[in-house]
């Protein structure tokens, strides 16, 4: 179906996802890949170097490289610039002139880079925002179908956030770490998760997904079939390259390579005016594919292929015929069962979640008709349970069965059950399907009201009725309070305990003062509740005050840590500089002594050198540890800002992020604290 265009072998291994194609000299394209030991190589097939055969240039970065990208940063330059992200800085490099455009310290480490905006041509910061966790991937897509593109950000906390300028306009919670994102067309984008899932979202709605045992290493989109609609291309850790239809997820083409696929890129690599798909494997094999062409003449090859496809069709037909037959017999038996040895089985079942107030846990209860026993149940629930599919056999074969439901995350999804029911001791069962919808806050078990309340809270004004508030509760927590509540009181209070971590949650609504108080020790939970309530009640702007003493205490400690780590970094750097000069001195000294044949002095110098070297190694270890701790703390700072912003809605939310960033830059901790608590300084 697809024509293989070319094939070449690079002599070096290529790291996963770390390859890009750019026009670095202004005329021809180069393939740039990250290889072992902090090196980058630039492969330019059309290079017209004076050296002649030297198509490959090596760049020594001498650092761990996290990501590379290429693009036009400076429109005046008229050629692409290579961006290299390392654990603590970002480097913009002009390949043609062999000079650094800018070199910026990014203390958190660069994990993903993309050319667009963020840093401008001079390397000053043009864009800054936060997400909940380490960013793993980014992409630009036309999410809202309005002019101008939005930034999609995938992060380690399983979320895809869509940013329009600085405001997060949409958050999509996935079930695992988002590893890759790519735009398809209009509002469609493809995604890949670390648990082996790839799929396509159209806006915030998922169109399809497929899951495999292997990990997707890269995704991209390209119109390989030539039908005007791009397909989703994916490369896998087992060396599989797949082309899937954007509409249905059907596999259109696949090929296996001997090594994991590192990257799938699209470019006119050979410079002949036709864009190709380029597949790069980790051991350096590069293969290009051309778009399928409909105008190729009918050849013997084709006739062979048509014969093949004909036989495939015939095969499909026979399979369908067989399946129809099976269904017909099943139907026949169901409708005209007259033979006396066939007994009708009542396979109606009831499935529901039971919340146990004794230990605040939940279990699923399955009830079948009296005549049949429940043998086993296969539970499919992606993301909320420990494994994708769980299996619970019930050897007692009774008409009621339970299994504990241990959710591990607050995540809205549908649990689908396949319940096997049958007569006792038989080996044949009916597989009855049942579904349980789970809300995001289903995991909360109602608690009998008592006076104890978590000390932390978030408070905000909502002008609405108790009835509306209760109906939100019913919808979010799947409770049935609407008909039982006494609406004559001014205040309404409801307590829950989370079945995940057994933490209490109290919600209070005072209708007179129209104040909602959410009392919980979990700041991110409070944020989620605020967002959910705002969405339900249609609130567009919401400012709130909060007090999370424990979290703030921890945050203060984190900020202190950051300061001390920064200080330690400076002293260590100074020490390193001192020692380096001492080492240089010793080397020269030793060399001198050697020339003068003063063996005693040579020995002495080298002894000292050895000692210093050991010290340097120890120092380096300290530095590395310090750096790791620093990054860890900075991550916490960022996630705190994110959590705080989530307690607000609308402009207040995005304004908070900007002012927090400003406060951090100004090193004004008091303002930062006030910002987080009050929302304004």
């Amino acid at each position: 179906m697809f024509k293989s265009a070319f094939k070449l072998f690079l002599s070096d291994p290529v790291h996963e996802g770390q390859a890009t194609i750019g026009c670095f000299n202004g005329s021809s394209l180069s393939l740039t890949c990250v290889t072992n030991a902090g090196k980058v190589f630039v492969h330019t097939p059309q290079a017209t170097n004076l050296d002649g055969d030297n198509q490959v240039k090596y760049l020594n970065v001498n650092k761990q490289i996290n990501c590379i990208a290429s693009g036009t940063i400076d429109p005046m330059l008229r050629r692409d610039v290579l961006l290299i992200g390392t654990p603590n800085n970002l480097l913009a490099y002009d390949v043609e002139e062999n000079r650094d455009l800018f070199f910026r310290d990014v203390p958190d480490g660069v994990t993903s880079c993309l050319v667009g905006k963020g840093f401008d041509a001079k390397g000053s910061e043009a864009y800054w925002t936060v997400t909940g966790d380490e960013v793993t991937t980014m992409a630009f897509a036309n999410f809202t179908n309005s002019p101008g593109k939005e930034l999609l950000v995938g992060s380690k906390d399983n979320e895809i956030r869509i940013f329009q300028n600085e405001q997060a306009i949409e958050e999509i919670l996935e079930i695992d770490e988002v590893t890759r994102l790519c735009p398809i067309y209009s509002s469609k984008f493809g995604y890949a998760l670390s648990n082996g899932t790839i799929g396509i979202y159209s806006g915030s709605r998922r169109q399809w997904r497929v899951k495999s045992r292997h990990q997707p290493t890269c995704i991209n989109s390209f119109d390989l079939t030539g039908d005007g609609v791009p397909e989703l291309l994916s490369g896998w850790s087992n060396g599989k390259f797949e082309v899937r239809s954007e509409k249905t997820g059907e596999t259109l083409f696949k090929e296996s390579f001997g090594a994991p696929i590192s990257s799938v890129l699209c470019a006119d690599f050979r410079g002949n005016g036709r864009e190709e798909v380029i597949c790069i494997t980790e051991d350096g094999e590069v293969k290009g594919y051309l778009q399928a062409d409909s105008s190729i003449g009918k050849t013997i090859e084709d006739s062979k292929r048509s014969a093949e496809s004909l036989s495939q069709l015939q095969h499909l037909r026979t399979e369908l015929q067989q399946e129809i037959k099976l269904y017909q017999t099943a139907n026949f038996q169901a409708e005209y069962s007259t033979s006396p040895n066939q007994v009708k089985v009542d396979t109606t079942i009831a499935v529901y979640i039971e919340k146990l107030q004794a230990d605040y846990s939940m279990r699923v209860v399955i009830k079948s008709a009296k005549t049949t026993g429940i043998k086993a149940v296969v539970v499919e629930a992606d993301g909320v349970l420990d494994s994708e599919v769980t299996f619970h056999p019930f050897p007692e074969e009774k008409d009621t069965a339970y299994f504990p439901l241990n959710l591990k995350a607050r995540f809205a999804c549908v649990i689908s059950l396949k319940v096997l029911v049958g007569f006792p001791l038989s080996n044949f069962y009916h597989a009855v399907k049942a579904e349980i919808p789970l809300g995001r806050f289903t995991s909360f078990v109602p608690k009998l009201p008592d006076s104890s309340k978590p000390t932390s809270y978030v408070k905000f004004k909502v002008k609405d009725t108790i009835q509306r508030f209760v109906s939100w509760l019913d919808q979010a927590f799947q409770t049935k309070l609407y008909n039982t509540t006494n609406y004559n009181k001014d205040t309404f209070e409801m307590s829950f305990v989370s079945s995940i971590n057994k933490m209490p949650l109290v919600l209070t609504f005072n209708a007179n003062e129209s104040i909602v108080v959410i009392s919980t020790d979990d700041m991110s939970l409070a944020g989620e509740l605020v967002q959910d309530l705002a969405q339900f009640l249609g609130i567009l702007e919401l400012q709130s005050v909060n007090d999370f003493p424990r979290e703030m205490e921890e945050f203060e400690a984190v900020l202190r840590d950051v300061e001390s780590y920064n200080a330690a970094r400076l002293t260590i750097s100074a020490d390193v500089a001192d020692r380096t000069s001492a080492i240089k001195e010793l080397v020269i000294k030793g060399e001198e002594a050697r020339i003068l044949q003063n063996m005693g002095s040579v020995r002495e110098s080298y002894r000292q050198l050895f000692r210093l070297n050991k010290e340097m190694v120890a120092e380096h270890e300290k530095k590395a540890l310090n750096h790791k701790a620093l990054v860890e703390s900075l991550k916490k700072v960022n996630s705190m800002i994110q959590k705080a912003s989530n307690l607000r809605v609308g402009k207040a939310k995005s304004a908070l992020i900007t002012s927090c960033r400003a406060a951090i830059k100004a090193n004004n901790m008091r303002t930062l604290f006030k910002l987080i608590k009050q929302g304004t300084s």
Binding site: K39, S212, H315, Q322, L326, N331, Q342, T347, P393, F428
Partner: protein, 742 residues
């Protein structure tokens, strides 16, 4: 489909209900130039059709009997060759090629007839255990086999000049038996379980210089591990010809045909079908040389019958295949291409157009079928609450066997409908092996058992619905338990089925024949003797609880001797037993410990009293250590090496050359480069697991050795052994010293 030398084109002709082994035959060439096909299926439908222009033309099709047709045969007598005989349950029916019934015979057996041959008025039938000869509707001879009969054929064997038709059986106890007058005339034992046999007909003794006695028959057999072998049957002995080992295919041979000449060189070629869907053709230059594989293809479903004949064209023979799921497929040599070469490009184009039209038509049909299917699914869905317990469940085959190479259990499931999930529960801890090669990828999702009741609870999810699924898993010896599979077909079927496999405590032991055991008997062996007031059958049952590959019934002899070899460590177990006595000898004391455990446990359940005596052989310790030590050493050093490799690679990239390394390091790098990096990482975890397993075995051995002698154990033995074995410079003598000296 690409073969080694030949290309064959797949042609899906017809779909029937699922079909058992040997329920497809090709009628001999009649007046027309193409052969008609006879199919029998598990619905009890027998049909005859021919193929014209890639469409089927039915001759007749019977009404469903709702009994599975277990075998279809053609008569062998003169004038009988176009008569069709088929059997279901205990009944044999004969019909002519127009479908008119002319014969019916019902035997009074309790078991269903599984194999059949007919010549004139003489029938041979075989069920699971019984082989009968029927003459003129009278049961004249009967033979009861000890173990399950896998296949029966008949051949003319001459006994001192008088040729007689004799049944030849292959049985689950890895034997081939030739029967004469209702008793075993002679038998041969084989290395693996033979699943099918075929006679090479038309062995022409005119082969220059080849010494083929008159009446000598050539037999080809296929085994459950996928190997092939050749045997010659004489009037007084069985002589072995070539055997062909398995080449990385895991499928067992389901059916073999050896009477057809595919290559056209006058010598019959061998065509075989496997249960993993493989179809292979072997050809040889003369009857005694080992044949070469000339074609291999795969039809994706388990193959239940394979033949060669003029089915789709009169110019060249097709390989006709009937699969377990009921698919009738022809692999044809594509005569249209030959014609096109002669007629030129016009014809070629015409062909393409014709094909395109046909494809169009088929597509339309498929769309219609899809719609119909959707409707039916809907209907079934509506009927779901009052669905009926299906009495004829969906046909399923589950096979459980041992893989010698890595001492793992292989379970093969084949079912008539596509399956997406297989749930599995077991009271044994199982270690699943995933293979990357298979075309259907699997994922495993494990469940923690809340009450610790099951050690393994898992669901295998297939990437795409498939009618076949292979599992392999490893289980430790010493524990017995059951593995229950729940097969869950696609949702719309609202149906599931389970199957239970028993894993015996000595599950890695495999029976071998007396001849093969010769070499093991000279080893130093420890002996465990059990005496008491029990019968031979009781002892036999107890042994059945320990070991696989044993028939359920005790032999009729006074005394029985069995030989077993561990596929994992190559240790030996000799069992002799009779009324009131049982003797077990092995060079591995751990094996004897397991035997003692199981038998005393079983005897206690039956309130039997046993007296047990043990005779230890000091020489067996070095023997055991020498068996396990090379493996330990290999794994330890490999494990140590693989830790270094990553660092070495980094250095080599930095330096740009390998000059700085020693030769050993260079060798290591080269070795890694050969087998991918990924493989290296994967094996690292595996190696650790294997290593731990071996160390565990040594510890158990140490404990068992001292337990049998009633000696005390060193308190620190576990750490000591681990320490001893993790060192790279430990010698086997040191290990032996540690175990024997206390």
């Amino acid at each position: 489909m690409e073969g080694s030398n030949i290309t064959l084109y797949r042609n899906d002709v017809l779909q029937s209900a699922p079909a058992y082994k040997g329920s497809m035959k090709l009628l001999p060439l009649g007046k027309r130039t193409r052969q008609k096909v006879v199919l029998g299926d598990t619905d009890g439908v027998i049909q005859v059709f021919s193929v014209k222009k890639k469409e089927t033309v039915g001759v007749f099709k019977s009404l469903p009997l709702h009994r599975a047709i277990t075998r279809v045969e053609l008569g062998r007598g003169s004038g009988q060759q176009d008569k069709i005989f088929y059997c279901y349950d205990q009944t044999v029916v004969g019909v002519n090629k127009k479908g008119k019934q002319f014969f019916q015979y019902s035997s009074n057996l309790t078991e269903a007839i599984k194999a059949l041959t007919v010549k004139d008025l003489t029938f041979f039938t075989a069920g699971d255990y019984v082989c009968n000869k029927i003459e003129n509707n009278n049961d004249v001879q009967q033979y009861v086999s000890r173990d399950k009969i896998n296949e029966m054929i008949t051949a003319r064997i001459s006994f001192s000049g008088v040729a007689e038709i004799c049944p030849i059986l292959v049985c689950q106890d890895r034997s081939l038996k030739v029967l004469k007058d209702g008793s075993v005339y002679y038998e041969a034992s084989m290395g693996t379980v033979p699943t099918t046999i075929a006679e090479v007909e038309s062995v022409i003794s005119a082969q220059g210089g080849v010494d083929l006695g008159i009446g000598r028959r050539e037999i080809i057999y296929g085994t459950e591990r996928g190997s092939l072998g050749q045997l010659f049957l004489d009037s007084d002995a069985i002589r072995r010809g070539w055997t062909m080992s398995v080449d990385n295919s895991i499928g067992g041979v389901n059916c073999v045909a050896a009477k057809y000449d595919f290559t056209g060189d006058g010598i019959p070629d061998i065509i075989l079908g496997k249960d993993d869907g493989a179809v292979e053709i072997f050809s040889s230059q003369d009857a005694q040389a080992q044949p070469q594989k000339i074609y291999s293809g795969n039809v994706a479903d388990s193959v239940s019958s394979v033949h060669l004949g003029y089915v789709t064209s009169e110019d060249a023979q097709d390989v006709a295949i009937h699969t377990f799921s009921g698919n009738f497929v022809c692999l044809s040599q594509k005569p249209s291409k030959v014609r096109a070469a002669q007629a030129g490009a016009d014809e070629e184009l015409l062909n393409i157009e014709e094909d395109a039209k046909r494809a169009e038509r088929t597509k339309k049909e498929i769309d219609q079928l899809r719609n119909k299917l959707e409707g039916l699914k809907e209907k079934v869905h509506r009927n779901q609450p009052s669905a009926v317990q299906s009495s004829n469940a969906i046909k399923m085959n589950v096979r459980h066997l041992l893989n010698h190479d890595d001492a793992s259990h292989v379970v093969r499931v084949e079912i008539a409908v596509p399956v997406r999930q297989i749930a599995l529960k077991s009271d044994l801890p199982l270690d699943f092996i995933l293979d990357n090669e298979s075309d259907v990828q699997r994922r495993i999702s494990n469940t923690k058992s809340p009450s610790e009741r099951y050690s393994t609870l898992s669901v295998h999810i297939l990437d795409k619905a498939s009618k076949r699924a292979d599992f392999s898993f490893k289980a430790m010896e010493g524990m017995s338990g059951q593995v229950q599979l729940f097969i869950l077909p696609e949702e719309s079927f609202h149906y599931a089925q389970s199957h239970t496999i028993t894993v015996k405590p000595l599950c890695l032991h495999q029976a071998i024949s007396r001849g093969e055991a010769e070499g093991y008997l000279v080893r130093p062996l420890n002996k465990l003797s059990i005496t008491g007031h029990f019968s031979m059958q009781e002892m036999h049952n107890w042994i059945c609880f320990c070991l696989m590959d044993i028939p359920t019934r005790a032999p009729h002899t006074q005394q029985e001797t069995l030989h077993f070899v561990s596929t994992f460590l190559d240790t030996f177990l000799l069992v002799t037993y009779q009324d009131g006595e049982g003797h077990f000898s092995s060079d591995s004391i751990s094996t004897l410990e397991i035997v003692r455990d199981v038998i005393t446990h079983r005897a206690t359940l039956q309130k039997q009293r046993l007296s047990i005596s043990f005779h230890g052989n000091e020489d067996s310790v070095p023997q055991f250590c020498r068996l396990i030590f090379p493996r330990l050493r290999g794994l330890t050093s490999a494990y140590h090496q693989s830790g270094l490799v990553d660092a070495l690679k980094e250095i080599s990239a930095q330096e740009g050359s390998l000059e700085c390394f020693t030769d050993r390091q260079k060798g290591m790098l080269a070795a890694v480069r050969e087998n991918q990096d990924r493989a290296n990482e994967e094996t690292l975890a595996n190696q650790k697991k294997n290593l731990d397993h071996l160390i565990e075995l040594v510890k158990t051995f140490y404990v068992d050795w001292h337990k049998f002698f009633g000696r005390g154990l060193k308190k620190t033995y576990a750490q000591d052994i681990e320490e001893l074995l993790s060192r790279l410079d430990t010698t086997v003598e040191e290990l032996i010293m540690y175990i024997t000296i206390d």
